[in-house]
Amino acid sequence: METVHKTAGGRPELAVGETSIAMHAGIALYIGDSKTPAFEDGRSYLTDRALYYINDRAALGLPLRSINAAEYSAGILTRSAKITVRIDASGKHKDILQMQWKWVCPICSHVNTADLAADNDNIDITAQRPCVVCGIRSPDTVKASRKPAEIGSTDGATCPRCTFINHPSMPECEICGEPLKSRNLAPKLPPDSFKAILNDQQLHDFSQVTSIRLSFRQGGDKPFYSKLQSALRNISNCNSSTNLATETSIDTGRSTPRLGIHALEQLSLQQRAQTSAILSGALGDLDSLMQHAGKVVEVAQNLAKQMAIAPEGIVPKETQERFLEQASAMSLAVPSSISRNVTSNAHGYYREIARDLAEFLSLPQNSLRNTGGIMGLADLYASYNRARSLDLVSPHDLLHAVEEFKNLDLPVSLTTVAGVKVIQSEADARRAQQNLLKILQECPGSSVIQLAIKSQYSTAVVSAHLQILEDAARVCLDRAPTVLQYYINEFDSFIISRETISA
């Protein structure tokens, strides 16, 4: 039995081409016959190559090859069903027990995994690597807080260059990055849970373990057992046959080298069978997957809804931030009231697109001047992505990017004209209005469509500008029998000329 690496998602990191067959939660792992608190509740994964046991404290894996036999004992009354697995402990697998450790950094609440190589006799905890995100080495005992001032100033590490009082465990100054003379913090013992194991000497050298027992507290034992049996049969067939490295993953690009024609035939045969099974199964899988997912997302959204009205104090800022980040990464339909405080790096990204957009609009052929200073967001989306042609930007991101214009003091702003979301450049809009006035000067009584043809602006843009000019009393209209026509507003000049006569 060896420990394995876990993916960020808490699943065993599978080898190339390893496909998972079954997974069940609510399982307790007995080492030999005795229970261990660390493995009270976890998930068991079965793949075509190994049996894994994972919970938030540890990740153990047992290659199917080293399993001699698996026995099933049904659950009676309170005793839950169990599967006992006999292991060939002939030492074929000299492993170094590697426990994998997961700890949440109290500063930035990033989940780190640390490797603690513990070979048989001494437990040597290689110096814990600092938290990947914020670089703080996090002995559990230090109650870190962002504001260094809180802890005694003598305790803080003042930065030699900018005299900023840093948090004692900061490797370099938060402000100017000057490396602080890092006082070598004695590697503290890992979190208490690990100590528990050390105390009650439960920790075995797994390589000597001859049998483990999986106790199914939440049912699902029978299907898991039958799949385990069939997986073991496959492995034994493979052992007996030419030890063929069957390539089961679809993505042939990463296939392992094949051996001879015979192998090739069998491979393509198997693959065709595999893909058709998968394709038909896929949708089935998809449905079952989505059912499960639906529940999770629903819970997430209910919580998001409650967090929307939670007063600031109830949910700590960092956890809310982390949840938001996760939710937005999965683009959960998080209520807008929450997503307004979109995490900072999202803003950074939107500002990136906004700058790119501004550049795009500065090119003469794209300038808003051509369209009368106004462009609908959908049209912008089409022409901008047409120009990008690769790595297209989603409508949702484009909208957020356009909203960033005001922060970059670009002369373009997001507004709504006649119910349509548009971007408008004040300068070009005024220029367009002057242009329309000039056309009306030359041909008074033009209709919207005539103005649109002469100015090359869209009819929507022309009517928007006419509305503005009318509000400013620069233009007035004539409801001719069939069509609405526009004139330069000359009423005032009539009044003045009238006064000269009657004065």
């Binding site: 009584g445 009318e470 007035c476 209209l477 000359e490 009423f491 009539f494 009238r498």
Partner: protein
């Protein structure tokens, strides 16, 4: 010498009520001035808003004011003291009752007819009063009586004439 129509009269938007309030105000004013100017030239005292509407219809550019807009203009003129309705017809004050009253009193004084009673008919001998509209004349007299410079004399409750002081 035929009447000189103002430039606005051949400006098509003149016949469309302008949505912009500011423009509409100047439009109202222009219509008022035009109507006064036109009726002064033609010494027309009365206007029937439903029948004589050729004033509001420019054949050459085929544009006309809609009845509602005509009403709004006449209401504007009433508020503005440049005319008022005498039942169905609209009386246009291209010369205001005050102006009429003043020139009437000046004539009474210059012809030494203070404290004499004159019939309505005799008053029409005043300069420029020959074709004065009865309604307007009466308004002028009211102005003078309010100023205590004239009084309508009644004989067994029938208006006989006016006495000036």
């Amino acid at each position: 010498m035929s009447y000189q129509y103002p430039k606005a009269y051949s400006y098509p938007p003149f016949f469309t009520k302008q949505p912009n309030p500011q423009t509409w105000q100047s439009q109202l004013q222009l219509w008022k001035d035009f109507i006064i100017d036109w009726s002064k030239f033609h010494r027309a005292y009365r206007l029937n808003p439903t029948s004589d509407i050729d004033l509001f219809h420019n054949q050459t550019i085929d544009r006309r004011l809609s009845p509602q807009v005509i009403d709004e203009i006449l209401k504007y003129m009433t508020d503005n003291g440049s005319g008022e309705f005498d039942s169905k017809e609209f009386v246009i004050y291209w010369k205001s009752p005050e102006e009429w009253a003043e020139s009437l009193y000046k004539w009474i004084e210059s012809t030494g007819q203070i404290s004499r009673v004159l019939t309505f008919k005799e008053l029409k001998n005043a300069p420029d009063f020959n074709d004065i509209d009865q309604f307007v004349l009466r308004k002028a007299i009211q102005v003078l009586s309010k100023r205590g410079k004239a009084q309508i004399m009644k004989v067994d409750n029938v208006e006989a004439g006016v006495k000036f002081f």
